[in-house]
Every structure is written in C-alpha cells, then in structure tokens.
C-alpha cells in the first residue's frame, strides 16, 4: 500500500481541483435525477390517487329487480349515476339476498354487498333535505366505507350509523330516528350526490327501523328481513365487467332480476386518469434518452481536457485499465453526487408544494409511502449513475487507448 496516496485520492483531487466544471456537470446530473425522481414520484402518487379513487368508484355492476330496471330504462327514476353505484337509488322494489349465494360463485366476482333502502323522512335537525336511510352489510360493504373521512376502527355495529357529509352531528353523538337513537360512528367525504344526505346502518337495524310504525310511507310495501334493493358487485381486477354481468345474469330469467353495468360515462375519466402515469413515464424516458448524448458529450470533453494528464500518467507507467478506471470513476462519482443532490432537492420541493396543499389541483394527491419514495429515489440515482457510466464508457476507453507521447505532444 502507498501511504497517504492512492488512485482514489488522485480521482478526488481531480474532481476538487476543477470546481466550476465539475459543479456544472454535477448540476447536469442533478437535473436528470430530479426529473426522473419527480416524474416517478408523481407516477407513484398518481397511481395511489387513482387507486384511492377507484376504490371509491363503487360497484361495477348493480343486480336489481327487473321492474326497477324497467323504470330506469324509462327514465322514470333517473340514470345510473355515480351516486347509484355507491348507494342504490331509493326504491320500493326488492330482491332476496339469497341471490347472493349464486352470484358469489360466478367467476371474476371480486366483491358484492347488498343494500336496502328504508325511507326518506324529513328530519330538519339533521338536514334541510329529506334523509335517505339505508341498510348495508358492514362486513361485505365496499362502496360506503371507502368514503369515510377517517379509516374505521371497527365495523359498523348495532345502533351505529354512518352519515353523509351533509348530515349534522358530531362523531359519537346520538341521532334520533324513529323510536331509537343511533350513534354516529363515521362520516363520509362529500360525494356531490344524494349520498351526502344519507344515513347508513346495519341491515338488521334497517329492518327493525322499517318495522316501526310511521317510518315507511303508507303506500310502500313492508320490508321483509332478507329483502334488498340491490346487490352491488365489483368485478375482479382486469376482468371485463360486461362479461361478469352476463355470467351473473345467465342463470336468472330477466323477468326476475337485471344486471346493470356502471354508467359508461365514468370510464373515460378513469381512462384519462390512468393515462397520466404513462405520460409521466414517457417524460422520464425522453429525459434519459436526451440526457445520454449530452452526458456522453460532457464526458468526452472532460476526457479531452485531461488528455495531457492522461498522457503523463501513461508515460509514467500507468496501465490502460487504470486510466479507464480513473475517467469512469470520476464520471460515476459526479453522477452519484449530482443524483443524490438532485433527488434531495426535488423531494424537498415536491413535499413543500404537494404537502403544503397550496395548489388546489394537487389537493387530495396521495403522497407515496416513505419506502416507496426511497425506492424511487434509489432508482433515480441508479439510473443517473448508469447513464453516466454508459455514456463515459467510450471516452474512458478512448483515453485509455491514447498514445502517451501523442497525448502529451498534442496538448503542449
């Protein structure tokens, strides 16, 4: 070993001795890393946001009584809206939950949950609008709970209700409905639909409430336990909801029940949202591809600038592999430094902008988890180092192949 002097000291000295040039190169690498990091961070965040949005999109399919489907088709109740796939429309037409046993066995049915509409009493203390009361199955529900403002600590229980955003009342406070009082266990985010004026309780509580006198309108048929207005169905990821719907419909005559697909108008928005990550990924790719020749040019210029030094080292007996290693390592070190700095600054800027919530369009943006963020940061740095390494290969090889005498003579 050589005391106090080594190739690494030589490389470090080479980097530190040209601060302006190497700072410029480091900034260049930093910009590349920052672009990769920020786009991939947004990709991950968008994916999370879309995932969150998709989880709130409600059901892909509605299994409803045939008569109700006829009313929908005749537009007497209204189209299947966003609200409908979260919470079924108020209706007095019902089917039995026993259909769920058959639906459960249909391939590509990921989730299903029944809902029953009870009544829409006017309760001025709770809402200016009539309050729609629903029964849901807290165990299988997948359309209401994703809208809770706070993640539920436990499933909705007996005597508890979930209220829409427009319903008055603090959490854990009691609300009188009929002859009973119910405790608010959760509140939903605004949906800009009738869901905001709804109250959700367990199916058993709903049947009990419906049995109380004066709850149902006089013309409404009584609600028998086990009867529901709709069974909301979620198709498995990647499955075609139309095919799943056809499979559900197949064993049942269309005069008994009808399977409706989620309103088609929701699909374009979903597709547009899912196209954003592709756009961001394309930006990342373009930056990397555009950066490659730039980095190669910088590496070639740096190698050319050091031509005299390289010639001297070769003249002193440096093997070609040492020259190759020196040039390549210098580039990798600058890329690593630039990558780390670029990612750090980019992360700080993103957290300040997104985390601060100052930009309305970014409100609700789901920041990726720390582990995911670290993985993205590491990926960005690795990509920059790889780009630097690959782009420096040719200049490093050319430098190592130089004739020492010519390298020295040409730069004198």
């Amino acid at each position: 070993m050589n005391e106090n002097f080594s190739i690494s000291r030589f490389i470090t000295a080479g980097i530190l001795h040209r601060p302006a040039r190497n700072l410029a190169i480091t900034v260049c690498f930093g910009l590349i890393a920052a672009t990769i990091f920020s786009t991939q961070f947004l990709v991950a965040g968008t994916a999370g946001t879309i995932g969150e949005g998709v989880s709130r999109m409600g059901a892909d399919l509605l299994v409803i009584p045939s008569q109700y489907a006829l009313l929908l088709r005749g537009n007497q109740i209204g189209p299947v809206t966003a609200g409908t796939i979260i919470r079924v429309e108020p209706s007095s037409m019902r089917i039995a939950t026993s259909y769920m046993d058959a639906i459960r066995n249909v391939p590509d049915v990921a989730m299903m949950s029944p809902q029953v509409y009870v009544a829409s009493p006017s309760v001025p203390s709770l809402s200016a609008s009539p309050v729609d009361i629903y029964g849901i199955d807290p165990i299988t529900d997948f359309t209401i709970t994703p809208w809770l403002t706070e993640p539920p600590v436990k499933s909705l229980g007996h005597g508890e209700i979930i209220v829409g955003s427009a319903i008055s009342g603090e959490a854990a406070s009691s609300i009188p409905l009929g002859a009973h009082t119910y405790t608010i266990s959760g509140r939903l985010d605004p949906t800009e639909s009738a869901v905001d004026h709804s109250v959700f309780m367990t199916l058993d509580d709903a049947y009990a409430l419906a049995a109380e006198p004066g709850i149902l309108t006089p013309d409404a048929p009584p609600i028998q336990p086990g009867a529901v207005n709709a069974i909301l169905v979620k198709a498995a990821t990647g499955a075609d909801p139309s095919m799943v719907g056809a499979r559900i419909q197949q064993p049942f005559p269309s005069t008994t029940l009808k399977v409706l697909e989620r309103q088609a108008t929701l699909k374009p928005a979903s597709k547009a949202a899912q196209g954003l990550p592709a756009l961001l990924n394309t930006i990342s790719l373009v930056v990397v591809l555009a950066a490659f020749p730039l980095v190669a040019l910088i590496a070639a210029m740096a190698a050319h600038e050091r031509q005299r030094e390289t010639g001297l080292l070769l003249a002193m007996g440096a093997p070609r592999r040492s020259i190759f290693a020196v040039i390549l390592t210098e580039s990798l070190v600058l890329a690593l430094a630039g990558g780390i700095a670029g990612v750090a600054l980019s992360a700080a800027a993103i957290f300040l902008i997104v985390g601060g919530g100052h930009i309305p369009v970014l409100q609700g943006f789901q920041l990726p988890a720390l582990s995911g963020t670290m993985a993205i940061a590491a990926t960005a740095i690795v990509i920059v180092v790889l780009v630097a390494g690959l782009a420096s290969l040719v200049p490093a090889w050319q430098s190592s192949r130089m004739n020492p005498w010519e390298a020295i003579r040409d730069t004198r």
Binding site: F10, A13, G14, M316, A318, P319, R320, R412
Partner: protein, 240 residues
C-alpha cells in the same frame, strides 16, 4: 542498457511520408551519460520517445536491459517504464491537481508493491532542494522548482535509466547549473542517463554524445568534440 538499432519513425503527411527519425543507431551502456544534441525539429524528442517506449518505431528495434520493446504489449511496456525508466519532460509535466509531494508519489501507484512511499518522496524532494514546497501545488511553483519536482518524480521508483528531454531548456543559468549538477550526481550513482539538449556546455558531462540532424543520428567522437567544441558548423545555429 539501451540499444537502438536502425530505428525509424515515419509520419504520413499531406506532402508525403516524413521520417522524423531515420535509421538511427544508439547504444547507451549501464551508468553512461549520453547527450543527444541537435536543432529544433531535428527529431531528438521523437528518438527519445522511442527509446523510452512511449512510441513504437516504424521499423528497427529498441532493447532495454536486453528486452526487445517490440515484443511487449502496451501494458507490458507501461510496466517496464514504471519499473526501469524515469522520464523528465521538456516542460514540467506535473499533474496540476495534486501537490508536489503527491506528484512525486504518482509513479508508485503503477508498481505492484511499494512501501515507504511518502518518506521516500520527501527524501527525494529534499535531495532536489524543494522539500519546503512539498505541499505546494504546481501552479504555485517556479519553473526551477517544477523541474526539480519532476526529477524527484522520475526517481521515485528507483529507475535504472533516466531519460530527460531538454530538462534545463527554460531555466536560468544558475538553476540550470544546479539541475545539471544533480544529473551528474545521479549518473555517478550508477543511473544511466540519456538526455536531449541544446546546450553544448553540457558536453563535458557526457560519456557519449550524438548529433541529430533532420532525422539522422550521428555519434560524435569524444576527441573531435573536445577539440572543436560544439560549433555552429557541427550542430547549427541553435547551439551557439
């Protein structure tokens, strides 16, 4: 120690082939002090580069300690240079990014094993009279100091051959005398020296002298040199 036989270095230019060195023969035995004199552009530096294994001759053969350089790969030649040859360039040839002391230590990086490097480098800097500038960067050194550091660097691997290309070309008279005194001392200690110079005053130092003129190398008989001195007739205007 160094033996060149019929070496030629030809370059192709737009006006045709140019022979920078044409069929040169040179022999420098162990412990000898060989001077190569000649005017600018006569091919002295090219000859020196071939003797040091920095470039390969177009034809002919160079042997260093009996080893035919033509049979070696580039890395084998580099290893031979690191081990056996110290080179003092016409210009300072110092690496600007490291200190004088680190410049002296650089060649040790290319030897398989080297110990006591720092102490040896300091001792060499002390020997050439610039120990107090060990931590200075080349940009802050004078021409004479840079040359001394370059000589110390050429000696760090204990080479048996020291090749110097006009090592005193840009120095004042006093510094030149000191540097040449240093070369003489090194030669007396057994190091074989091959030096290119313009300066005829250095002839008394040499055991052999050669003259290079338009690529042709001619050995000068000692007797002739002593009798005539190095005159413009022999070597051209550069030497006056």
């Amino acid at each position: 120690m160094i033996e060149a036989t019929g070496i030629t270095k030809a370059f192709t230019t737009v006006s045709g082939e140019v022979r920078a060195v044409d069929m040169a023969d040179l022999s420098a035995g162990k412990g000898s002090f060989t001077l190569i004199l000649g005017r600018s552009g006569s091919g002295k530096s090219t000859l020196l580069a071939m003797l040091a294994g920095l470039i390969r001759p177009s034809s002919g053969m160079v042997r260093i300690k009996g080893e035919d350089m033509g049979t070696l790969t580039d890395d084998q030649m580099a290893a031979l240079r690191a081990r056996e040859i110290g080179f003092v360039f016409q210009f300072s040839g110092l690496i600007p990014t490291v200190t004088a002391l680190e410049n002296v230590m650089i060649p040790t990086l290319f030897l398989p094993k080297s110990s006591g490097t720092r102490e040896r480098a300091l001792a060499l800097l002390s020997r050439v009279g610039v120990a107090d500038r060990a931590d200075a960067y080349p940009a802050t050194l004078s021409s004479g100091e840079m040359k001394r550091v370059a000589i110390a660097r050429a000696l760090i691997n204990n080479p048996s051959i020291l090749i110097a290309d006009e090592p005193t070309g840009d120095l004042d008279v006093d510094t030149e005398a000191e540097i040449m005194g240093l070369f003489r001392t090194l030669n007396r200690e057994g190091i074989t020296i091959v030096m290119v110079t313009h300066n005829p005053d250095l002839i008394p130092c040499a055991s052999h002298t050669y003259t290079m003129d338009r690529g042709k190398l001619t050995e000068n008989p000692d007797a002739l040199l002593c009798r005539r001195g190095i005159t413009g007739t022999l070597l051209g205007q550069d030497l006056q």
